[in-house]
């Protein structure tokens, strides 16, 4: 068994270098495929993180209170809201707190707010929902309270965002599946050419009593080596691209969606696992498919 493996490894490496042209061709195609796949992975993960963070940011209802609402009235509202199942917590945001939040969000431009003079922001209640599904009802109830100026709740927007992100994810999944199939076809063609060129050798090996695995082993490994090398190349390129992207556009994304891009390290660690397993299986499946015909008897 060990000896058989040794033979396979030796032959696989010899073949890997001997068929340089074809090896390079399939290496490049799989690498390209994996890079595109990696891009879709980045997009898909980021979109899903973005949606999640938007969801969690907007599972709140803002209830703006009229300026003449007394703190007793506010307390009554808070108590009755706290009694509801749909409500996780209610926080009273005073004018001053609201202004501080504003300033924080505006960052270095916050000094502009200093020119406002009297604080124009209302007192408000911030309701955090246990479940986004109860949002509509809670918002409606809030509107019935006296002393309420306005109720802000963004369910429609959230629904739309979720729908868009679902579509993007589904699209990414289809593209990824398609790319995997294409890669398998490419590898199996490469190996097929190898097999063709080694046809007489295979025939002779069979005449001297080689088992199918003796013949198949090296080619299987050859496919897997191609897959692993391609995965390593694609990984390096994808990681570099993503890190560059985060450096260049991370801040803009943060300003636009008020959430960060997914940490490169986290994504890349996942990508290593994905690429390696994909590379190995693409290589293995590709070579098995291409050899089946030749090894029948």
């Amino acid at each position: 068994m060990i000896k058989a493996l040794g033979h396979s490894f030796k032959q696989a490496f010899v073949q890997f270098f001997r068929n340089r042209g074809m090896t390079l061709a399939s290496l490049i195609s799989i690498t390209a495929m994996l890079i595109i796949l990696g891009m879709f992975f980045f997009i898909s993960v980021n979109v899903s993180f973005l949606t999640e963070s938007i969801k969690s940011q907007f599972d709140t209802i803002e209830v703006y209170l009229l300026d003449d609402t007394t703190s007793d009235q506010a307390k009554v509202m808070i108590e009755s809201l706290n009694a509801m199942d749909e409500v996780e917590s209610v926080q009273l945001i005073t004018k001053d707190m609201a202004m501080d939040e504003f300033k924080e969000r505006w960052g270095e431009n916050a000094y502009l707010l200093d020119g406002l003079g009297e604080n124009p922001l209302p007192n408000s209640l911030r309701i955090t929902l246990t479940d986004i599904e109860g949002g509509d009802m809670t918002a409606a109830i809030c509107r019935t309270f006296t002393g309420v100026e306005d109720v802000r709740y963004y369910k429609d927007e959230i629904d739309r965002i979720i729908k868009i992100s679902d579509t993007i994810q589904r699209g990414a999944l289809i593209v990824i599946a398609f790319l995997i199939v294409v890669s398998i076809v490419v590898v199996s063609n490469t190996i097929k050419i190898t097999v063709m060129s080694r046809r007489s050798e295979i025939e002779i090996m069979k005449y001297v009593g080689a088992t199918n695995w003796f013949i198949r082993g090296p080619m299987l490994l050859e496919g897997m080596i191609i897959g692993v090398v391609a995965a390593a190349c694609a990984l390096g390129i994808c990681a570099a691209l993503y890190i560059r992207f985060c450096e260049s556009f991370g801040e803009q994304v943060n300003v636009m969606f008020s959430t960060d891009l997914v940490e490169p390290h986290f994504l890349i660690v996942n990508l290593i696992a994905i690429f390696m397993s994909l590379g190995v299986s693409i290589g293995a499946v590709g070579s098995i498919i291409s050899m089946r015909r030749f090894l029948k008897a």
Binding site: S200, F214, A297
Partner: protein, 229 residues
């Protein structure tokens, strides 16, 4: 050793391969298989090697019924049947040593054993000095010696030679035949030689089985070629 019991093989389109053939080749026999092209000699060999399945009848090799073998068992069968071909079938990008070693590698023989036994067999074949040459650097007769070395290195009980002298001049042919005879005499290996070489057959005075139109038409000890082609 090799026994065909009423074996029939008809190809698609009603081409007769073999029809009701019964042959018994004993342990240590040396048999010439003769007959015109398309008579069924190749079918005979392919049936022994399990490249083909017979339509009916039984084939026994080394006393074992090999009529039905799983794909997994076929390589094992071929390990005790050495094959020599008219076109030598050596790997052009491997040296003589590597070509012979291949037959041992497929059986996962240790490298040390390979290094010890390959030179022995090459010496036996009289080509010890050609070990590092590539097949293209050798004469036809020498290439056939390499092929024979490869066929016998695992000490098969049966050696089948399909037109082994078809590409060789008469003198070289005679040398190769004598080599096969040696292997038969000294190694006790059963040798089956398919040939068109009338001169060789007539001179060797061995058992001759003639096949024509898929049937055994003659089986004589110390026979002659018997055709004028």
């Amino acid at each position: 050793m090799i026994k065909f019991d009423d074996v029939t093989k008809i190809y698609d389109g009603n081409n007769v391969g073999l029809q009701n053939v019964s042959i018994d080749i004993g342990d240590g026999d040396f048999v010439f298989l003769v007959g015109p092209s398309g008579a069924g000699k190749t079918t005979f060999i392919k049936l022994i090697l399990k490249e083909l399945e017979p339509d009916s009848g039984h084939i026994y090799i080394n006393g074992r019924d090999c009529t039905r073998l799983s794909n997994r068992q076929i390589p094992m069968l071929r390990r005790y049947v050495g094959m020599v071909f008219q076109d030598f079938r050596l790997l052009p990008n491997k040296t003589v040593f590597e070509n012979v070693a291949l037959a041992m590698e497929v059986m996962h023989t240790t490298r040390r054993t390979i290094r010890r036994q390959v030179p022995q067999v090459l010496t036996m074949m009289g080509i010890a000095d050609k070990a590092d040459k590539f097949p293209s650097e050798l004469a036809g007769g020498e290439q056939q010696r390499v092929a024979i070395a490869r066929a016998i290195i695992n000490r098969p009980q049966i050696l089948i030679a399909d037109e082994p002298t078809g590409n060789l001049d008469p003198d070289t042919s005679w040398e190769i035949m004598n080599l096969l005879d040696d292997i038969n005499r000294h190694g006790g290996t059963t040798v089956v030689v398919v040939t068109h070489d009338k001169a060789v057959v007539d001179r060797m005075k061995k058992r001759v089985v003639a096949i024509d139109n898929g049937r055994v038409v003659r089986d004589s000890q110390e026979g002659e070629y018997g055709y004028d082609d």
